[in-house]
C-alpha cells in the first residue's frame, strides 16, 4: 500500500504550481462545465473546485483521499472550462498530470488491470490485433449471433448499459476493406488513428477522397499508431509518451506540411505532444514541429474552396461540437461553414452545442451514470432543433449520439453522421 503522504509528495513535486496559482477563482469557467451543471452546482465538481482541490493537495491542506480521486474521475476532460477561462489556465494539462500521479500510485484491482492492459497496451496500439477484433465483431454482427443474443438479452442481464451500448455500435466494416493510399509524395499526410482506422475505415477513406478532390496529394505514412489520448486521459502517461514518439518518427519521413486528422480527440492530443514530451529535451523540438502541422479536416477543406461543391436533398441539419476540436484545437466555425455551404441543407444551431455529450473517451464506460445523464439532457436540446441529421467530428461523439438517439427513441426521425461522411455523400462532381 502506498501511503497518502507519498502520493502527496508526488503532487508537490510534479504539479505545475504556477499554473495552479494562475486560477483566480473567479468562477467564469463554472457555467460551462457539464459536471457542475449536472450536480446542481457542486463546487467540488467544477473546474474551479478541482483546481482548488489539486492545489490543496499540493499545499498539504487535504489528503488525496477517495473523494478527491472521485472528483478527478468525474471530470470529462472536455476542456470547456479552458475556453471560458479569461486567465488562460491550462486545466487539461493539470488534470492529466494529476490523473497520472494518482494512477501510478493506485493498486488497480486485478481484473480491471488486465482489462485495461489488454485494451490500452495490447489491442489499441496494434493495428493487426485491432483488425482481428473488428473481424470478430463483423462475424458476430453478420452471423446472426448478435441478433440472437440481442433477442435473448443476455448482455442485459450482465449489464443493462453494456447492452444499450453494444446495440449502438456501428456495423463493423468488412474485413476486406483497406485504406487506399493515394500518393507517397504528398504535401498532406493523413493520421489514420486507431478506432477510426478499425471501425470507421469508410470515414477514413472518405477523408482521403475529399482531400484529394481538393487537388491535394495525400499520403499515409507507415509506422504510425494510436495517438495516445485514451492512455493519457486514463492516467497512463508513460504509454502515451511511447506512442507519441512512434508517431513523431513516422511523420518525419517525407516532407509534407500538413498532417490531416478527422477525429477531434486525436487532433487535439497530437497538437499537445510538446506538453507530453516537455521533460524530454531531445524530443521537445521534434514534438513542436510535429504539432504545428496538425490540421483538422474541416479547416483543410475550407481552405480549398471546396465549399461550392456540395449538394444534398433538402434537410434540417445540426452540429454537435467535438469538445477537443472546439476547446483543444479552436475549430468550431469551420465545420459549420462547411455544412451551411451544402446546397439543400438548412443548418440549425444546437443549443449548448459546445457542451460535452458525455462520451469523452472511455468516460461513458467508467462514469456511466453521469455520462448518460449528460447525454439525455443533450438529446433534449437536439430534439428541440427538429433536425433530421446531427453531424459530429469525432468517433466517440458519433457513437454517443447514436446511443442517445436510441435512448430517446428517435431512430426513425434522426441520424448521426460524421461530417466527412456527410460531405462525401453531398459531393457533386
Amino acid at each position: 500500500m502506498t501511503t497518502p503522504t507519498t502520493l502527496q509528495k508526488q503532487f508537490k513535486e510534479r504539479m505545475d504550481y504556477d499554473e495552479l496559482m494562475n486560477c483566480t477563482r473567479c468562477g467564469f469557467c463554472q457555467p460551462t462545465c457539464p459536471t457542475f451543471i449536472e450536480t446542481d452546482r457542486k463546487e467540488s465538481s467544477s473546474p474551479r473546485g478541482r483546481i482548488a482541490l489539486m492545489k490543496a493537495v499540493v499545499d498539504g491542506v487535504i489528503e488525496p483521499d477517495e473523494g478527491f480521486e472521485r472528483e478527478l474521475s468525474l471530470c470529462l476532460g472536455c476542456r470547456a472550462c479552458e475556453t471560458a477561462c479569461p486567465s488562460g489556465v491550462k486545466y487539461g494539462q493539470l488534470l492529466e498530470d494529476a490523473r497520472a500521479i494518482v494512477a501510478e500510485h493506485k493498486k488497480v484491482p486485478f481484473f480491471k488491470r488486465i482489462f485495461s492492459n489488454l485494451l490500452l497496451h495490447t489491442l489499441i496500439p496494434n493495428r493487426r490485433l485491432l483488425r482481428v477484433a473488428v473481424l470478430l465483431l463483423w462475424v458476430y454482427q453478420r452471423s446472426g449471433l448478435q441478433a440472437g443474443l440481442r433477442k435473448l438479452k443476455v448482455l442485459k442481464w450482465i449489464s443493462p448499459s453494456l447492452f444499450e451500448m453494444e446495440g449502438s455500435l456501428p456495423a463493423a466494416p468488412s474485413p476486406f476493406s483497406r485504406l487506399k493510399n493515394s500518393s507517397a509524395e504528398s504535401s498532406v499526410s493523413f493520421f489514420r488513428g486507431c478506432i477510426m482506422d478499425a471501425l470507421f475505415v469508410e470515414t477514413n477513406q472518405n477523408t482521403i477522397d475529399l482531400i484529394a478532390a481538393g487537388n491535394e496529394e495525400i499520403g499515409i505514412p507507415v509506422g504510425q499508431t494510436c495517438c495516445g489520448a485514451l492512455h493519457a486521459h486514463a492516467g497512463d502517461q508513460k504509454k502515451a509518451i511511447e506512442l507519441a514518439k512512434q508517431n513523431i518518427c513516422a511523420f518525419e519521413t517525407g516532407d509534407h506540411e500538413v498532417i490531416a486528422t478527422n477525429a477531434g480527440g486525436c487532433g487535439a492530443f497530437l497538437a499537445e505532444y510538446p506538453h507530453l514530451l516537455k521533460d524530454e529535451p531531445e524530443w521537445a523540438k521534434r514534438a513542436v514541429q510535429f504539432s504545428r502541422k496538425i490540421k483538422d479536416v474541416s479547416s483543410l477543406l475550407n481552405e480549398h474552396d471546396q465549399i461550392d461543391g456540395f449538394e444534398a436533398s433538402p434537410q434540417l441539419v445540426t452540429y454537435q461540437d467535438s469538445c477537443h476540436l472546439k476547446h483543444g484545437m479552436n475549430v468550431f466555425s469551420k465545420p459549420r461553414q462547411l455544412l451551411k455551404s451544402v446546397k439543400g441543407v438548412e443548418f440549425v444551431e444546437l443549443d449548448n452545442a459546445g457542451m460535452c455529450c458525455g462520451s469523452a473517451g472511455i468516460y461513458n464506460l467508467i462514469e456511466q451514470e453521469m455520462s448518460m445523464q449528460i447525454l439525455d439532457h443533450k438529446m433534449e436540446d437536439v430534439k428541440r432543433t427538429n433536425a433530421a441529421v446531427i453531424v459530429t467530428s469525432n468517433p466517440g461523439c458519433l457513437l454517443q449520439m447514436r446511443l442517445g438517439i436510441q435512448r430517446a427513441g428517435l431512430e426513425d426521425k434522426l441520424k448521426a453522421v460524421h461530417i466527412v461522411d456527410f460531405l462525401h455523400e453531398a459531393q457533386t462532381k
Binding site: 504556477d18 496559482m21 494562475n22 483566480t24 477563482r25 473567479c26 468562477g27 467564469f28 463554472q30 457555467p31 446542481d40 452546482r41 457542486k42 463546487e43 467540488s44 473546485g49 482548488a52 482541490l53 490543496a56 491542506v61 487535504i62 489528503e63 483521499d65 473523494g67 478527491f68 472521485r70 472528483e71 477561462c85 479569461p86 486567465s87 488562460g88
Partner: protein
C-alpha cells in the same frame, strides 16, 4: 470537532443527502474569489426552504456555531471565508424564480437564482432587470443583495438596492421576518429592506426577494472610443456627464487591461492605445442615436482618434463580455491579482487615475486600472506574486495610499465589492469611529451571539490613516 448531536439534528432537519462533512466538500467552500484567503468550514448544509433555514439557524444559535451564507463565492472581499469554521449554508436548492408579476412589474425569487438567469427570464417577457455585475453569469441574487452589487449599467440604472422591494429573511435567532413588499411606497417603520441590502450576510439570511423590474429598453447602441492618453479619456467622462447625458454604460480600460482582455477574447481590441471608453446607450431609437452622436462629438473634442459604433448586436455583446472578463484576464500577466475597489465622485476620475499611476511608479508596482468610470467606481488592480513577501508589503502600502486618496477626494474604500475581511481595517476611514460604533450596535442588536458570518465587516485591527500629500 462539531458536536455529534448537532450534526444529527441538522441531518434530521434537511435530510442527510443535503449535509456534507467530507474533506473534499469542506475544502470546496473554504475559499472564494478573493486571493490569499482560505479557512476550512466544519459542515456544509443545503436547505430547501425558509423553514429549514430557520431550523438550522436555531440549532446553530443553540450550539453557538458560526454560519456563513454563501452564494457562488465570487465576492472579492473574503466575505464567505469561514474564518471561525462552522457551517456554510448553500442555496443551490433554493434557486427558483417563483413569480414574474407582469402587472406589478416585479419578480419574486429565491436567493440561489443566478443573476443572468433572472435577467434572461425577464427579457423573455420584454422586461428588464438592470443590475449586471461583471460576474452575473455566476453570481446569485442572494450574493448580489448582500453585497449590493453594481454592474455595467449602474450609471443610468443604479445598483441592486434600487431594485429590491421586499425580503424574506431569517434572523440569527431563527425568527422569520418579511420586509417591504410589492409596493413602491412604504414608510412603516425603519427601512429594514435597505438595512439588509449590503449587510454581507452579517445580519440575516435572505431566503426570498421581491425585485423591481422595468420595461425593456427599445434599442441600444454600443461604442468604443480610443484615446492616446488617460487624462483625455477621463476628461471625456466628466464632459459627457456635464452635458447632461447619462449613458447606460460608461466603462474605462487602460492599456494593460486592454492587452490582457484582447489576449483572451481575440475580438480585435486595440492594444496600442493608452485608454478606451466603452459606452452604451439605450432607450428609444431616436434618443439613442442623438445621444450617441453627441457623445461621439465629445470624445473627438477630447482627442479620441477613433470612435466606432458596434454594427451588430453580436459585436456589441462581444465588447461587453470582453469587458466583464477584464479582472480575470489581467491575472494572465502575473500569478496574483489584487483588485481594489476605490470609488470617487465622477468628476474626480481623472485625478484618481493619475494618482494610481503615480503611486504604482512610486512603489515600483504594476497596477492596471479599469472600471465603471461613469459612476466613479475604479478598479486599480495590482499584478503581483503572493510568494514575494517583499513586494506584497509594497502593494499593501500602495493600496493604503490609494484608499486614503479616494476618501480624501470624497470617495469611498469600496464601491461595490463590500467590506468583508479585506476592507475591514479601513472601514473607519470612510465612516469614522462613530459610524463603526453605530454599525456595531446594529450588529449586536440583530446577532448578540455573533454567529452570523463572524469576523467580517469589523476588523480586529484598524489601520492608521496615512497622510497623503497631493
Amino acid at each position: 470537532m462539531l458536536n455529534p448531536s448537532f450534526c444529527d439534528q441538522i441531518k434530521e432537519l434537511v435530510g442527510s443527502s443535503n449535509v456534507y462533512t467530507d474533506s473534499v466538500s469542506l475544502l470546496s467552500y473554504s475559499y472564494d474569489a478573493t486571493p490569499n484567503y482560505q479557512s476550512m468550514p466544519q459542515i456544509i448544509v443545503e436547505p430547501g426552504n425558509t423553514e429549514e433555514v430557520s431550523g438550522i439557524v436555531k440549532l446553530c444559535s443553540e450550539y453557538e456555531i458560526p454560519i456563513v451564507p454563501r452564494g457562488s463565492g465570487t465576492n472579492l472581499c473574503a466575505g464567505t471565508i469561514p474564518v471561525d469554521g462552522g457551517l456554510v449554508m448553500l442555496f443551490n436548492r433554493m434557486a427558483g424564480i417563483l413569480e414574474m408579476d407582469e402587472e406589478n412589474l416585479t419578480a419574486t425569487v429565491q436567493p440561489g437564482v443566478i443573476t443572468q438567469t433572472l435577467i434572461e427570464e425577464a427579457e423573455r417577457k420584454s422586461l428588464f432587470y438592470p443590475p449586471d455585475p461583471g460576474s452575473m453569469k455566476i453570481s446569485t441574487i442572494g450574493g448580489n443583495i448582500n453585497e449590493c452589487s453594481g454592474g455595467l449599467r449602474g450609471m443610468k440604472y443604479g445598483v441592486t438596492k434600487d431594485y429590491v422591494l421586499g425580503l424574506t429573511a431569517v434572523l440569527p435567532n431563527g425568527d422569520i421576518v418579511k420586509t417591504g413588499g410589492k409596493l413602491t411606497k412604504d414608510v412603516a417603520g425603519y427601512d429594514l429592506t435597505k438595512l439588509l441590502i449590503g449587510s454581507e450576510g452579517t445580519l440575516a439570511i435572505v431566503t426570498e426577494a421581491i425585485l423591481k423590474l422595468v420595461p425593456k429598453p427599445e434599442s441600444k447602441k454600443t461604442m468604443l472610443a480610443l484615446f492616446e492618453n488617460i487624462e483625455n479619456a477621463a476628461q471625456t467622462v466628466s464632459d459627457i456627464i456635464a452635458a447632461r447625458i447619462i449613458p447606460a454604460t460608461l466603462e474605462f480600460l487602460d492599456q494593460g487591461t486592454l492587452q490582457a482582455v484582447e489576449d483572451f477574447a481575440q475580438i480585435g481590441l486595440p492594444t496600442n492605445v493608452e485608454a478606451v471608453l466603452l459606452i452604451e446607450q439605450d432607450g428609444s431609437p431616436d434618443a439613442v442615436v442623438s445621444d450617441i452622436r453627441k457623445i461621439e462629438a465629445l470624445c473627438r473634442e477630447n482627442g479620441a482618434f477613433s470612435v466606432e459604433v458596434a454594427s451588430t448586436d453580436q459585436e456589441a455583446a462581444q465588447l461587453m463580455t470582453a469587458r466583464r472578463a477584464a479582472l480575470t484576464a489581467l491575472s494572465r500577466l502575473k500569478p496574483t491579482t489584487i483588485l481594489e475597489d476605490a470609488t470617487v465622485p465622477r468628476s474626480k476620475v481623472a485625478e484618481m487615475v493619475r494618482f494610481v499611476n503615480e503611486t504604482a511608479r512610486k512603489f515600483n508596482l504594476q497596477i492596471c486600472t479599469f472600471g465603471h468610470a461613469g459612476d466613479g467606481n475604479l478598479h486599480p488592480t495590482c499584478l503581483t506574486d503572493a510568494r514575494d513577501m517583499e513586494e506584497l508589503e509594497r502593494v499593501e502600502q500602495a493600496f493604503e495610499e490609494i484608499f486614503a486618496k479616494a476618501v480624501d477626494l470624497g470617495g469611498t474604500i469600496t464601491g461595490e465589492h463590500g467590506v468583508g475581511m479585506m476592507k475591514a481595517p479601513y472601514l473607519s476611514w470612510k465612516i469614522g469611529e462613530e459610524g463603526v460604533n453605530i454599525m456595531k450596535s446594529i450588529k449586536a442588536a440583530f446577532d448578540p451571539k455573533n454567529i452570523l458570518n463572524p469576523g467580517k465587516m469589523f476588523g480586529k485591527s484598524t489601520r492608521k490613516r496615512v497622510v497623503i500629500r497631493s
